[in-house]
């Protein structure tokens, strides 16, 4: 007996066709969700940028309010810089650099580098001397954050600068 409709249902997709369509679909959905992921990472990067801006501003705010003798004291500054500038998570992730230099001469200058961490003793590097002379009454203060972003692991930095004078300020 000959089978009726023999061979009729043998038409279908080949493995290659199926694989192609699956790959195309996967590529489409993958790219769509990757786009979404990038958006969320931008949020993270934005949070880090704001935290960095606030971090350097907060540090400068503290330095600005110090007695000038404390600002020029290596031991006082070392103790002060042991703790991060504020409670933000980035303040503990970033490498913080504070540079004080005589204004206008630019020398001597001292650079405190605080490595990432919650409680870190900064390293000290002097240039053009080992302390500020008593004639120094005006300092240029530069505060800088360096960190690696969660967004693509890029290196970022943020800094602010100001002049701080000795004497009674208002």
């Amino acid at each position: 007996m000959r089978m009726r409709f023999q061979g009729r249902y043998e038409d279908g997709f080949t493995l290659t066709e199926l694989m192609t369509s699956v790959v195309l679909l996967a590529g489409f959905f993958g790219s769509v969700f990757e786009l979404n992921t990038v958006c969320l990472r931008y949020v993270n990067a934005s949070k880090e940028n704001v935290a960095a801006i606030q971090g350097v501003q907060d540090r400068l705010e503290v330095l600005r309010s110090l007695a000038f003798t404390d600002l020029t004291s290596t031991s006082y500054m070392t103790t002060l810089l042991t703790t991060p500038s504020n409670s933000a998570a980035l303040a503990q992730r970033a490498v913080e650099t504070v540079k004080l230099s005589d204004y206008i001469a630019g020398s001597p200058s001292v650079t405190y580098t605080r490595a990432a961490g919650a409680n870190v003793t900064p390293t000290i590097s002097w240039s053009g001397g080992a302390s500020f002379p008593s004639t120094t009454t005006l300092l240029r203060v530069n505060v800088r954050y360096d960190w690696t972003t969660t967004f693509a692991g890029r290196s970022r930095s943020e800094q602010t600068e100001s002049l701080i004078s000795a004497g009674i300020k208002k």
């Binding site: 009729r8 949020v43 935290a51 907060d58």
Partner: protein, 215 residues
């Protein structure tokens, strides 16, 4: 004449149609759902950025007033901040306004008295009171009774400020948080102050009172 038999009547069986419709529906449902999710996600990101800017604006306002204050007090719940600010500028009716209000609009020169605990700065006249408060969803700033709305949103922005007074200086530490549109932790309604989704949005700021600065 012999009629020609039509051989083109072959079609899909019910089973094939059901399978195809099922798969197609699933694909469309997935595409539709992901499209909606993406739109919500992008709206959430957009909302996050705009609320982030509001946080910065609130911090900016608060810091400006704190920096020019004589003194600052905060409530126990940290939600109300009262700044006492000297009247820096001479106004009409002030004792030092001069003949014909000639000095109106000019900046006052303070007397600065050095003490063991830093300088005491006195502008010599009355003070203005600036109060920051959170009322429902609205953050308000009231200066001498004049109310300004700093932020009003459904993002549940919450500013909290702690005032620290030392022997020779005074500063405030402030945080502003909000509840992002997407949150997956906490107490369910997302309103708790310790909700991880909220704490993840915290912006910190520190401001020292310029009139209480060490020399």
């Amino acid at each position: 004449m012999k009629l020609r038999q039509n051989h083109n009547t072959a079609g899909f069986s019910m089973g094939e149609m059901v399978v195809v419709v099922g798969i197609t529906s699933a694909l469309f449902a997935a595409a539709f759902a992901s499209s909606i999710s993406l739109q919500q996600s992008l709206a959430g990101v957009d909302d996050f950025f705009s609320t982030h800017l509001q946080q910065i604006r609130i911090i900016d306002y608060l810091s400006r007033d704190v920096k020019r204050s004589y003194s600052v007090t905060t409530s126990v719940d940290k939600l109300t901040v009262t700044c006492t600010i000297p009247n820096y500028v001479i106004q009409a009716g002030d004792s030092d306004a001069g003949v014909g209000n000639a000095n109106v609009g000019k900046r006052r020169t303070p007397t600065i008295t050095p003490t063991a605990n830093g300088a005491v700065i006195d502008y010599g006249t009355g003070t203005s009171s600036v109060i920051y408060a959170l009322n429902n969803q609205t953050i308000t700033r009231t200066e001498n009774g004049v109310l300004t709305t700093i932020a009003a949103s459904t993002d549940s922005l919450v500013p909290e400020t702690i005032d620290t007074e030392l022997a020779n200086t005074e500063y405030t530490s402030s945080t502003v948080t909000f509840m992002p549109k997407f949150h997956g932790h906490g107490n369910g309604n997302g309103q708790g102050q310790t909700d991880p989704s909220r704490t993840g949005t915290t912006v910190f700021a520190k401001a020292y009172l310029r009139n209480k600065r060490r020399g």
